[in-house]
Symmetry: C2
Subunit: 622 residues, 2 copies
Amino acid sequence: MFKDLKRVLIGRPLKNELMGEEKYGILWGLPILASDAISSVAYAGQEILMVLIPIIGALAYGQLTVISCFIIGLLILLTLSYRQTIQCYPNGGGAYIVAKENIGILAGVTAGAALSVDYILTVAVSVSSGIAQITSAFSQLRHYTVPLCVVMVLLLMLGNLRGIRESSRIFGIPAYAFIIAIITMLIAGFLKIKSGYIPPEPTIRSVGEPITLILLLRAFSNGCAALTGVEAVSNAVPNFKEPSTKYARTVLLLLSIIIFSLFGGTSILANFYHVVPSEENAMLILIAEEVFGKGFMFYYIMVTTFIILVMAANTAFSGFPMLVAVMAKEGYVPRQLSMKGDRLSYSNGIIVLSAISILLIVVFKAKVSSLIGLYAIGVFISFTLSQTGMFLRWKRVRGKNWVAKAAINCTGAIVTAIVVVIIAITKFNEGAWVVVFLIPVLIYLMLKVKKHYVAVKIQLRVKNEELDEINITRDIYTNRVIVPIASINKSSIRALRFARTISDNVVAFCVAIDEESGNEVREKYERLNTDIPLVVKYSPFRRVVEPLLKFIESTEYDYNKGDMITVVLPQFSVKRGWHRILHNQTRIFIEKELLKHKHIVLATMPLQLKDDEYVLSSAKYK
Amino acid sequence: MFKDLKRVLIGRPLKNELMGEEKYGILWGLPILASDAISSVAYAGQEILMVLIPIIGALAYGQLTVISCFIIGLLILLTLSYRQTIQCYPNGGGAYIVAKENIGILAGVTAGAALSVDYILTVAVSVSSGIAQITSAFSQLRHYTVPLCVVMVLLLMLGNLRGIRESSRIFGIPAYAFIIAIITMLIAGFLKIKSGYIPPEPTIRSVGEPITLILLLRAFSNGCAALTGVEAVSNAVPNFKEPSTKYARTVLLLLSIIIFSLFGGTSILANFYHVVPSEENAMLILIAEEVFGKGFMFYYIMVTTFIILVMAANTAFSGFPMLVAVMAKEGYVPRQLSMKGDRLSYSNGIIVLSAISILLIVVFKAKVSSLIGLYAIGVFISFTLSQTGMFLRWKRVRGKNWVAKAAINCTGAIVTAIVVVIIAITKFNEGAWVVVFLIPVLIYLMLKVKKHYVAVKIQLRVKNEELDEINITRDIYTNRVIVPIASINKSSIRALRFARTISDNVVAFCVAIDEESGNEVREKYERLNTDIPLVVKYSPFRRVVEPLLKFIESTEYDYNKGDMITVVLPQFSVKRGWHRILHNQTRIFIEKELLKHKHIVLATMPLQLKDDEYVLSSAKYK
């Protein structure tokens, strides 16, 4: 039943050959990868105003324009830098790869850890902001903000478990709808102002303090959230159709132009209309209401803004699993994260991402202002490492125009490093400390995991020159078999028969609670036609493992070092899931204990049980 | 580390021989078994008043006395009845046994289900009421009511996992302290009134409606919670020292006398002092404040009341696991519930009881008035069934004075049946409906479980006359072995060596993703000195199971029906718990799939991994 449900939700398994088909061009690649950055239009400007307005009042609007210019400058710099990265790393040039190859393992792992944290926050922030757009218009839904966000993440999870291309189609068209919506709003807004419309002066509550540098830097830090999407494109180069490098570079350029227009435009409009965004009233919704009134366009903007934010979360759903899979292949995170699921998506990565972001949403009650404190620092750390890596690469590789290219990346590295420091300082108390401490912990864990995999590899390694000396023949070990039995029944007889086929040295082993039950088993056993000896032990404990191990070590058993011992245990294979809790509990415990001994092999013999009703009714007829 | 923690919390394992020692006489048996009934003094009277006062105001106190008389009458009847039950059932005469033996299986299971529900409620109600005593005196703790209750249940769980006798000692002395405390309060309270003290008239808010029968019955239903402890004594007869029957009967009698004095006495005092109990102010605490003021005796009563309520919960901790174990031995609940743990207590039953009662406490926010709605109905159903069973037994067995004895049980059955109907009707809307529906569901499940165990037994059964015909010799099955390998390493070589010792018919089976990796394995494999053939399959899926099953069914493998196939899988046995998540995930999946086939045995070969640091440092030196 669970399997059927899985099929309905996720779809039929796909074959490896279909891998090639699950890729995208510019048309679908742009919305799926760029939406993170585009969607920041919905909250970056707002979060800048929400820092400034309560302190400096109406002066905030002028400062918004200044800060937006800085952020757009950063965007241009990053675009130039990352177009170079895409060119050099056609197989995916995430910060992890670039930093690892050009700086060193520690830098790579740091970038990986920082980016992972940011992908998770992208989901939490974007979904929370998306739902906030809806609840700004429909205030009666405000009570259900957190459950709505959780459902949204779960839907994204399902969509992505279905596979890449299908998700790009699901989310592609509405992205363009959003871009058109905002551009329409910008034009209409400017025309309305130009036609002489004077927007009503809003009631602004502020303490009216003077503008300070630290305040502006705090606002700037919030605005930096706008730039978190750039990384996704360079990470996802191999997901593009061929020529993938060219497509990726084009998408990155288009993306920058779009952000430039939308982010810049809305900042100017917010300035004209003097909107006062808050936790309850999203900035874009307020502007839309001013420009269009509560008509069709108002709802159209609300819906498309919501959808683009969901798509931004979706960017992380394609970025995070891919990043983690790369790291898993190199052994820095558990291997399972590099396995593709039935539908050729990295299922485990998708599930991990969903689980942690749901946790964040619940803990921070889906409040964007709370989550934004943790956001952006991770991505700027990875920007810095990636740019530094590229700079070192140019110095090493050189080639045409390398000085100019190195200069771009070097500038990028320095500027983003400054931003990291600004964010860490100005937002330390507002949540950045979590990330500042979490990233080193993640790095430590990743190095530990890698160490373990290396240690395992060393232990398993067989050198090429050793191969010829390895001998696998019958005489290496002696195999002896022990069959624990509790009574004489079809299961124990089957186990004994199996045991007899794999060895001439079999012992049936019975732990009895008292002499009476021991004798009963012995009497029955003696009537069987077998050459397997029976050993009965009485146990003051209620356990089977201790007497068994004691028996193996006793002189009675005459165990020689080097012998393998196979213990045969039956396992009921039940028809109904809930029957499982009625069986096999002791077996799990025995298994766990015995497998601690390297000379003991555990043979699990399945025993199919028939349907209860069938057995009972046919027993009646006999 | 988990094991060490377990040892510290629960103690060292005990041997079966110690079983005899873990029993109690009258001195310790009385507090551990009677505390449920005695403790009801703390809430039964209060819950009667809390139903009456808001409706009929000060008239409630007179009605409290009347209702208390009815309840004490019931108590006397039950005591007489149950003394007879103890006499007849020295091995434990819980309602389950008595009903099953004398009425039928369905009656027994019904009694078992009803009692189980009530034991769970005993824990929830007693712990909630106990914490309410504390928060009545220290109102600043009121915010933490639910967490305090949960911690209390967990402490009880730990205490009981340690074993029976130790828990009786932990809880024995304070029980006597409570009895002395209440008796002191009764005497002081009566003397104070007699010396002419006139208590201040409390402010009673009531709608002042006339007394109705249904109102009185509702109050009576609440008061019936006082009688839930009686069952425990008859259930626990074998836990007494020899002569256990005599001891148990004496304990039951003493218990009745104590309840009679305490419950009757406090009802009269409540009447004299006109206390107005509420969710925030427990009745006993109010009386104590009136009588003693907020001095030593006030806190002494608060503390001992709290402790006796905790002990009442503890009654369920000895009763529930024992009841469930009896039912588990007969196959009505999962067998694991009949297994004694390291410390000779029924660990699983204790854990189940704790988990469900914590759930109830959380759901009902630890409010006694809410929980009381579910309470008592279960225990009165079991009273009725038990008495009916005893009546039928006398009719069948007869013996000295059987008519008089039958008459007692018959009266008991009729009266308790009437109480069941009263509770079900008057408290249906207040939660009794949950129990009314839950009990049939439990009965259904129990019968289902039993059916399954019977069906399994039939399938495993070997009749005595069949024994002589059973042949366990080498030639019955052919055993063939398949060793799935992913590469040539120490683990796969070890698996192949083991395979070679158990069969002459071994195949190494490799699923490769592409031809390149397949050829690499083949080249290395061919250099090994072995007669085991290697089969390489290419899989478009990323799974191992499907190609393996396909291979077994193919003509290439030439599988004959009746052959056993052993698949050898290595399992890493890791040094650190968290390493487990880095391994063996595929193995779990393969195991689950292969064991669905009855001709496939799974041999799990443990592979001890050394400590990471050790491996890495010794690899360095080489």
